[in-house]
């Protein structure tokens, strides 16, 4: 019996090729999108699940409140957290602290030298908290000795290949360490580090390790079995409020410790400052799940729409089947087996598509996801998915079809249950929804595109092209930076060199500057760029008042300050010209003698330039010459013969610090890096927009097919009465254009609101023009007309006699 159903279903699919194709295409598309999203969502939830007793582990972070920044979550904690938790709370089994080594250090082993960027200095209990899988060596006492180091498999491979490196020596910035173990990199661990050294190696002074205010360590606690983390958190907060808040108040900052369950770290820390965890975003995960569900519902709905449209054509088949004795249930089964077969084919194709697209998605998300198709559980899931989708999508058309009255249908009466004046709200509502989503995405895509273009093309106030950039290394180089600079300038390919601390796209220092005015000394918080005489020239920053630093005027190096336009305003100097000559004091960055003041005056004002990303507003900025802070080198090159120039830089480097390899970048590259997230968002939006439009069109196509089929007779009558082809096309299209216009009305304010919110993050942003909505609306209407027009024209061109013939 069942076999019979499927045989007949198979024939029926073959008979209606284009219909089957459309239906399978739509469903496949929806399922593929769902599968990909489901994989992503599932993967995001797998973090730290491998850690045994993980439910007893919490990360301690702080909710910090300052006057200037307000309240924010910070992953950095003071060292006393762990000490206090361990000593004063019997609920705590153990506490763990580690320090994130944020800068690159030079590794040297087995004859290879590489700068490594991701490591931590941890207390010895690290592997009891996080029992990573050891490939070589053992976690036991692995961090006991101050010169021990544990490395990841990927780091080990870079130096030792597949060889066992345990017992071997690694030099880190020339200090020797001994490898105690190698752990397997785990992509599902929230700490993606390549090496771990003992915390004591960092040599933090004992008094600092007893501080409540120095926040620079990550803290984790493991509670005893059965202990309620929230209660402990509350107790600890109380302690901090009582004992620590009085100390903190003096600094204008307070904090409250918070406990975060281990399994929440990956998804619930998106807004944390100074976090080193591999982070996802629960909002995205939830949003994507919603999108997946939406896509699936829409795909099923479109299936229903198309199938119902088709069902009108099959009314006669039903009449015949019924008149020869088929029961309603048999008919329902018959039609359901058709939709299940369709769903099954779609699931099959979408699995193939998913496998095909997965490498691309992995690349895009930086993940390593896989769809284990041969896993029996996954297979079972896929088969049930076909049946569920098939039943959901097929039930309504099956009911409608099987419910046709044989006599009525065979006599040629109208088959659809048309009632005058009654609008199919659900059907229309869903199409409006689909198109609203399309319009929303079209608008968002345009706005994001514009903003990214704006970011890329905005005049930054300096020239970032052709500037090679690297840090100085080794005492010889740092100590003789003048000589190093002069030798770099020897090459004809080098047009200028600047050495300093505070280059665009790199770290900058924030510090106070003092303006003596009358008898008072007022302190302002500004960005300090520690520069040399060639900084302004090398970067092409424009001087709008006064002058650049000059070597001829020796006091420039000891008393000269140059400020930017914003600083002129913020420090209350009036105009740039008026700012010239104004006195400034700065507390010099040296420990001895304390309170030594550099007293000088403003000698020049530069135009504001964007040394940070356009997310941030330009800050009041002070440039001064302060060689002790010199660290980074910027080499402006001429366009001709870059290879020879690079060679010259390398040779010069090697003559000063041969023990360090040269690692360099380019300034414009690091600027592009800052907008990587926006680029990804842009790509993602185009994809989603394309998807939404496709799905929306499919829905509209089905609806139009249905309408054309249902109104076949009416169209015939109208043509007999003199309607032209245009009349009919307009008649059929206008309803849909109305639907699209409604969706435009719904989507536009939402899109405006969302995009306005997104743009808020940028200090420099575009305005959303009205034309954006016009363009999106026009695109949506055009797309809708193209989709509907196909059916409308087909219906209008039909010979009316055919539709009016009565047997």
């Amino acid at each position: 019996m069942l076999k019979n159903y499927f045989k007949s279903a198979y024939r029926s699919l073959l008979k209606q090729k284009s219909f089957s194709f459309l239906n399978i295409a739509g469903l496949t598309f929806g399922l593929t999108a769902c599968l990909l999203i489901a994989l992503f969502v599932w993967d995001e939830q797998q973090y730290d699940k491998f850690i045994p007793e993980g439910e007893q582990v919490y990360r301690v972070y702080i909710e910090r409140t300052t006057v200037s920044e307000g309240t924010e979550n910070m992953a950095f904690t003071p060292p006393m957290f762990a000490t206090t938790l361990e000593q004063e709370f019997p609920e705590v089994e153990e506490a763990l602290r580690f320090f994130n080594i944020q800068w690159k250090v030079l590794f040297e082993a087995n004859g290879k030298q590489i700068y490594e960027g991701s490591g931590i200095a941890a207390e010895s209990g690290f592997f009891e908290f996080f029992p990573l899988h050891f490939v070589f060596g053992s976690p036991k006492n692995a961090l006991a000795d101050p010169t021990s180091i544990v490395i990841s498999t990927s780091l080990a491979e870079r130096y030792f290949g597949t060889e066992n490196p345990v017992g071997k020596e690694i030099l880190i910035d020339n200090d020797p360490f001994q490898v105690k173990g190698v752990y397997q990199n785990n992509p599902k661990f929230h700490l993606a580090v390549d090496y771990i050294i003992p915390l004591q190696t960092m040599g933090f002074p004992e008094e600092r390790m007893q501080s409540w205010t120095w926040q620079n360590l990550f803290t984790y606690v493991k509670v005893k079995k059965g202990v309620n983390g929230e209660n402990l958190e509350a107790k600890f907060q109380k302690l901090v409020e009582q004992d620590v808040h009085p100390i903190l108040k003096e600094g204008g900052m307070t904090y409250l410790p918070q406990f975060q369950p281990l399994e929440n770290i990956h998804l619930y820390s998106a807004d944390f400052k100074y976090d080193m965890a591999v982070r996802g975003n629960i909002t995205y995960v939830k949003g994507l799940s919603l999108i997946a569900l939406f896509i699936l519902v829409i795909a099923c709905f479109n299936f229903v729409n198309l199938a119902t449209a088709k069902s009108l054509k099959r009314a006669k088949e039903v009449g015949v089947r019924k008149s020869i004795g088929a029961s309603r249930n048999q008919l329902i089964l018959q039609f359901l087996s058709e939709s299940i077969l369709l769903a099954f084919i779609s699931v099959l194709i979408s699995v193939l598509l998913t496998l095909l697209l997965l490498p691309w998605l992995n690349d895009f998300t930086g993940k390593q996801m896989a769809l284990p198709v041969l896993n029996p559980l996954v297979l079972l899931l896929l088969v049930s998915l076909s049946i569920i989708v098939g039943v959901i999508a097929g039930l309504y058309p099956a009911m409608v079809l099987s419910g046709f009255q044989p006599v009525k249908v065979l006599k040629g009466g109208s088959a659809g249950n048309v009632q005058p004046g009654k609008i199919p709200w659900l059907r229309h509502g869903l199409v409006v929804l689909q198109f609203a989503v399309s319009v929303l995405l079209i608008i968002s895509a345009i706005v994001v595109y514009q903003q990214v273009e704006f970011l890329n093309n905005k005049d930054l106030g300096f020239e970032k092209e052709q500037i090679m950039f690297f840090p100085m290394r080794g005492e010889n180089m740092v100590g003789n930076y003048e000589a190093f600079k002069n030798q770099l300038l020897q090459s004809p390919g080098v047009s200028s060199v600047s050495i300093g601390y505070g280059f665009p796209g790199d770290m900058v220092a924030g510090d106070g500057i003092i303006v003596p005015r009358g008898g008072e000394h007022k302190r302002y918080s500004v960005t300090q760029l520690m520069v040399d005489h060639d900084y302004i020239k090398t970067l092409g920053v424009e001087v709008i008042a006064g002058r650049d630093f000059s070597k001829e005027i020796t006091t420039d190096a000891t008393e000269g300050f140059i400020i930017n336009e914003t600083a002129v305003k913020e420090l209350g100097f009036g105009t740039p010209e008026e700012a010239l000559g104004q006195p400034l004091h700065w507390e010099v960055w040296v420990d001895e003698p304390a309170d030594s003041l550099k007293k000088g005056q403003v000698i020049g004002v530069v135009k504001d330039f964007h040394y940070k990303s356009l997310y941030d507003e330009v800050e009041p900025t002070v440039l001064q010459i302060f060689p002790p802070a010199f660290w980074k080198v910027a080499v402006k090159m001429k366009t001709a013969d870059i290879a020879a120039t690079l060679e010259h830089v390398k040779t010069t480097w090697n003559s000063f610090s041969p023990e360090y390899p040269l690692e360099y970048g380019f300034l414009d590259d690091s600027f592009e890096q800052m907008y990587k997230a926006e680029d990804k968002l842009r790509a993602l939006l185009w994809i989603f927009t394309g998807m939404a439009i496709f799905v929306g069109c499919l829905g509209l196509f089905g609806l139009a097919a249905y309408a054309a089929e249902r109104r076949k007779k009416e169209i015939g009558i109208r043509k007999v009465l003199g309607a032209s082809v245009q009349n009919i096309v307009v008649l059929l299209s206008q309803d849909f254009v109305k639907l699209v216009l409604i969706s435009l009305l719904i989507a536009s304010p939402i899109a405006w609101y969302l995009m306005q919110g997104w743009l808020q993050d940028f200090a420099y942003r575009i305005d959303i023009g009205w034309w954006v909505f016009g363009l999106a609306g026009f695109a949506a209407v055009a797309i809708a007309l193209l989709t509907v027009g196909f059916h409308a024209i087909k219906a209008a061109l039909k010979n009316p006699v055919k539709n009016l013939r009565i047997e």
């Binding site: 040629g412 109208s414 048309v418 005058p420 004046g421 007779k713 009416e714 015939g716 009558i717 109208r718 043509k719 007999v720 009465l721 003199g722 309607a723 032209s724 082809v725 009349n727 010979n799 009316p800 006699v801 009016l804 013939r805 009565i806």
Partner: protein, 225 residues
């Protein structure tokens, strides 16, 4: 008014081809009331469709008011049709979504008649057909006889010279049927030419002349007295 000579219409489907009209000749004079009779499948409806410019013949000549229209294209046929021809069908063919008034108004819209003029003419014709009180109703709320009266009203609202009726009483009981025949006779007496297909000898008696068809040809013409 109508002169048809050697008209041929062949339907081709995948499996076979049917000669619906085979070298058919027919002449209808201005003001005549002609009934076409014959067994099912002999080509009556096909003939009516061609007379109504809904379909084009494969060969032969079709003079309409002295103009050869056999080779007219879709647009030319449509414009001729909406000005000169009205249709009445066995199954009424009213549009379910439109009210009685809107159904009758439709041909005038396609003719491009102004709204005030349309209202006047529709009300006039509804009044004549005695269905004025039903103008706001929808077709499904009317009886068969009422529906056919609406259909006749729609057929005559643009004051056509020719009315083509395909079994107009086929779905009606005899009293309703007679009412429709009276309507058609009235129209004919006011000068409208009528060609009507019917199975009923009774209805045929309202006409001036009966054309009998067999296998796509006219075989006999009875003149009424």
């Amino acid at each position: 008014m109508i002169k048809i000579t050697n008209l041929v219409k062949v339907y081709r489907t995948e499996e076979m081809q049917t000669t619906a009209l085979n070298q058919l000749n027919l002449e209808v004079k201005e003001g005549e009331f002609v009934a076409v009779m014959g067994p099912s499948g002999c080509g009556k409806s096909t003939l009516l469709n061609i007379l109504g410019l809904l379909d084009d013949p494969d060969s032969g000549s079709f003079l309409f008011n002295g103009i050869e229209v056999a080779n007219f294209n879709e647009r030319q046929r449509s414009s001729l049709r909406k000005q000169h021809i009205g249709f009445v069908f066995q199954s009424f063919n009213l549009i379910d979504e439109l009210s009685v008034f809107e159904n009758v108004e439709l041909p005038l819209i396609y003719l491009g008649v102004k709204e005030s003029e349309r209202r006047k003419r529709v009300e006039e014709v509804l009044d004549k057909m005695q269905i004025m009180h039903r103008q706001k109703h929808f077709p499904q709320q009317l009886s068969g006889g009422q529906q056919q009266r609406v259909a006749v009203a729609r057929a005559v609202v643009n004051k056509p010279h020719l009315i083509l009726a395909d079994e107009p009483t086929g779905n009606l009981d005899s009293s309703n049927g007679n009412e429709v025949m009276e309507l058609l006779t009235d129209l004919n007496e006011q000068g409208t030419t009528i060609v009507m297909v019917t199975h009923s000898e009774h209805d045929a008696r309202y006409s001036h002349r009966i054309v009998r068809m067999l296998d796509g040809q006219t075989v006999l013409t009875d003149i009424m007295v």
